[in-house]
């Protein structure tokens, strides 16, 4: 017990180290939430281009997706930070958000596409037969069915996104992981900071998962009370 007490003291209370962790948590949350928002929007736009526009735009998006899936996230982050956006006066936090948006929008695009393509063509035709416009058919008929397929996969990808934000320490953003690492480098306590940080990530992903489950219940047709 006294070991745990010592750990809490040296890792959290001494020199107000817990402040570093809460600041880190805020950065992690900021990067995660903004990236989720932007990446989802961008993924939607990419998916729309991929499925509708002419040959040229479509193949561009296809190449973009292939490229993003092939390049490791860390490499993309370092390249953006030190090379592509080196001259732009953008804080490291926003560069991280740009990076995660670019990277995960490619994954989201593919998830959305496979979800929408998973809906039987007959459903579109049924919508037209009822006199709905393509847009209304998409919203009223296709999307509710597609969402059912999209959300479980999307959820897994979001959790991956939140966990991958742990690499932003490489570009000098002090996030939760980096804060834990800095504390570890001071106290040389192998476990307490790591376990604490892991528990916070677990909590974050559980909350996110629960929110998405709730969302899924709201939007998928089967679970709606008629």
């Amino acid at each position: 017990m006294s070991g745990i007490k010592d750990s809490i003291y040296s890792n959290l209370l001494l020199e107000d180290r817990w402040v570093m962790l809460t600041d880190g948590l805020i950065n992690t949350l900021a990067v995660s939430l903004w990236s989720i928002l932007f990446a989802t929007l961008m993924g939607g736009v990419l998916c729309a281009i991929r499925m509708n526009s002419g040959n040229w735009a479509r193949s561009t998006v296809k190449w973009y997706v292939e490229l993003m899936r092939a390049i490791p996230l860390l490499v993309l982050l370092l390249l953006l930070f030190y090379v592509v956006l080196a001259d732009v006066s953008l804080s490291s936090l926003w560069i991280a958000i740009v990076c995660f948006t670019l990277y995960f929008s490619a994954y989201f695009c593919e998830i959305f596409r496979s979800g929408i393509e998973g809906v039987n063509r007959g459903q579109w035709e049924a919508g037209y037969a009822l006199g709905l416009t393509p847009w209304r058919t998409f919203i009223k008929v296709i999307l509710p069915q597609a969402l059912k397929k999209i959300i479980p996969v999307y959820k897994g990808q979001l959790i991956t996104l939140v966990k991958s934000t742990s690499i932003i320490g490489y570009v000098a953003v002090v996030d939760l992981t980096k804060a834990g690492d800095i504390i570890r480098s001071r106290t040389f306590d192998a476990f307490f900071p790591v376990l604490l940080v892991a528990a916070v990530y677990l909590l974050l992903t559980l909350i996110l998962g629960a929110l998405l489950d709730l969302f899924e219940k709201c939007v998928t047709p089967k679970s709606r009370k008629i």
Partner: protein, 496 residues
């Protein structure tokens, strides 16, 4: 896809040679006190980090060793601090950098022992005292420092003392730190290594060096993975609480590096191809560093293959338990799977290495395979389960109606249909597994990523090793994808 990637890399390298911000006026900064109000990049957790943190008022940017120079080069930091001997060895002018001042933030380093291992510590101290009295110590230091003032040629000395066989070896945890401990022609050498080899020869210990991350050294010592820390570790108060330090035997100092005042940009200095050529030469050809990379690649492949096999087996078992009709079995399994998927892989790895297998002498490679097997087993089991559940009940009933047994129905009817759904998803997970093996450096395994980190720590080249390693991972992922595609074609009924 590959052509696009090549294009990107070329574009990026070209850009990297041209971009960069205008330097600030740093002429007024002439000592450590003047750092106040400037941004200074340091290696995280190192002694410079600790010393500057205590001063306050400095914008400290904590990075990995490999990114320090590029941070200054691209104007992300005004200064970076690296070891003064290492700074002398690098070709800083070609990157538009210069050493502003040297011999700062000095401190003494010693070897670290476990608190309850005072016998070994006093033995080492006794040896140090002996050689200091006999003059061998001065001779040793001279030999290394006088080779040239930059110590560049000192690295030509390869240790004369080979490790002896027999007896229980001393496990020594090291971090590659130039010029104290480093690889020369892929052999471990350096000032401290030389000293310790001499000690071990005198005392009759066989010795076994293992490469750790700096922050992992003290935990490894205290959990019994290693007996000695030999890593140019400076003695600080907080470290002394956990480690029994020997007497100091060497003093090190840093150099502050900033951008050259005349401010030549890289584009004017050298063309893109000559820069790539230089990087290629520095990172791969010199001292046959490619061999380290090749060995690392082989380790990565071994770990990946073994882990995939272990994960598939664990996944099958977990899937079977999860799909059990008995809630007593299926719900705890579900909990374990959720837990494993919710915590970072690194935590699983560290718990396995430092807690569960702390006292056993099992190598990092096997701990890695077990951790990856368990962790990805949880992911795979869910993939298997969704695959199995997507096979309609009617298919099972059809099997039974044909008079097949339960196992026969599974094997002949359900599995082939499930596999066609499992393999495409599994492909993504397997590729994720291969990419994730890059964390094994934490448990003293020198894989591809760690090998490139070791090279980066020497050349302080941020991009070339990184991009090279990425390309290798992409090729590995691509080959794996092809292999699984071929497997899919073999197994699924449609393509037969």
């Amino acid at each position: 896809m590959r052509r696009g990637l090549l294009f990107l890399i070329a574009a990026v390298l070209w850009l990297s040679s041209c971009t960069g911000r205008k330097a600030q006026d740093l002429s007024g900064v002439n000592c450590v006190e003047d750092f106040k109000g400037h941004s200074v990049a340091v290696a995280m957790g190192g002694s410079y980090d600790l010393m500057l943190s205590e001063m306050g008022g400095i914008d400290i940017i904590r990075l990995g060793v490999g990114e320090l120079l590029v941070a200054v080069e691209k104007g992300r930091a005004d200064f970076c601090i690296i070891d003064q001997y290492q700074a002398g060895m690098l070709n800083l002018e070609s990157r538009g950098l210069e050493i502003k001042f040297k011999n700062i933030l000095k401190g003494t380093a010693g070897a670290g022992f476990r608190k309850d291992d005072s016998l070994l510590c006093s033995q080492f101290n006794g040896y140090l005292m002996g050689i200091m009295a006999s003059g061998e110590y001065d001779e040793w230091l001279d030999e290394w420092t006088s080779a040239s003032d930059s110590m560049a040629d000192a690295s030509l000395l390869v240790p004369k003392h080979e490790k002896k066989p027999g007896g229980r070896p001393l496990h020594v945890g090291i971090t590659i730190t130039y010029p104290y401990l480093f690889l020369k022609e892929n052999n471990l050498t350096g000032i401290e290594v030389d000293l310790f080899n001499r000690f071990c020869e005198k005392a009759g210990y066989p010795v076994d060096y293992e490469i750790y991350d700096f922050s992992a050294l003290i935990p490894a010592l205290n959990s019994g993975k290693i007996d000695v820390i030999l890593s140019h570790m400076r003695m600080t108060e907080e470290r002394s609480k956990q480690v029994l330090f020997s007497d100091a035997y060497i003093e090190g100092g840093g150099a502050a590096v900033c951008r050259s005042e005349n401010g030549v940009t890289s584009c004017e200095r050298a063309g893109i191809w000559s820069r790539i050529k230089e990087s290629f030469n520095n990172n791969l050809v010199v001292e046959r560093r490619w061999k380290l990379m090749a060995d690392g690649l082989w380790v990565t492949i071994q770990i990946s293959v073994l882990s995939i096999v272990a994960a598939v087996l664990a996944g099958i078992i977990l899937c079977r338990l999860r799909m059990s009709r008995r809630r007593m079995v299926s719900s705890p399994t579900g909990l374990v799977i959720d837990l494993l998927r919710g915590i970072p892989l690194l935590v699983v790895l560290m718990l396995m290495f430092y807690v569960i297998f702390a006292s056993s002498r099992i190598t990092g490679t096997w701990v890695t395979v077990m951790s990856f097997g368990l962790y990805y087993g949880a992911y795979f089991s869910e993939v298997f389960r969704t695959g199995m559940e997507s096979v309609e009940r009617g298919q099972w009933e059809a099997g039974f109606a044909l008079g097949l047994g339960k196992f026969q129905t599974f094997l002949k009817v359900a599995l082939p249909q499930a596999l066609s759904r499992i393999i495409p998803v599994l492909k993504g997970e397997v590729i994720a597994l291969i990419k994730m093996t890059s964390v094994v450096g934490y448990v003293a395994v020198v894989d591809l990523t760690k090998a490139s980190d070791i090279i980066r720590a020497r050349t302080l080249d941020a991009f070339f090793p990184l991009i090279l390693v990425s390309v290798v991972y992409i090729i590995l992922a691509w080959l794996t994808g092809m292999g699984l595609k071929a497997l899919e074609n073999q197994l699924t009924p449609k393509s037969r």
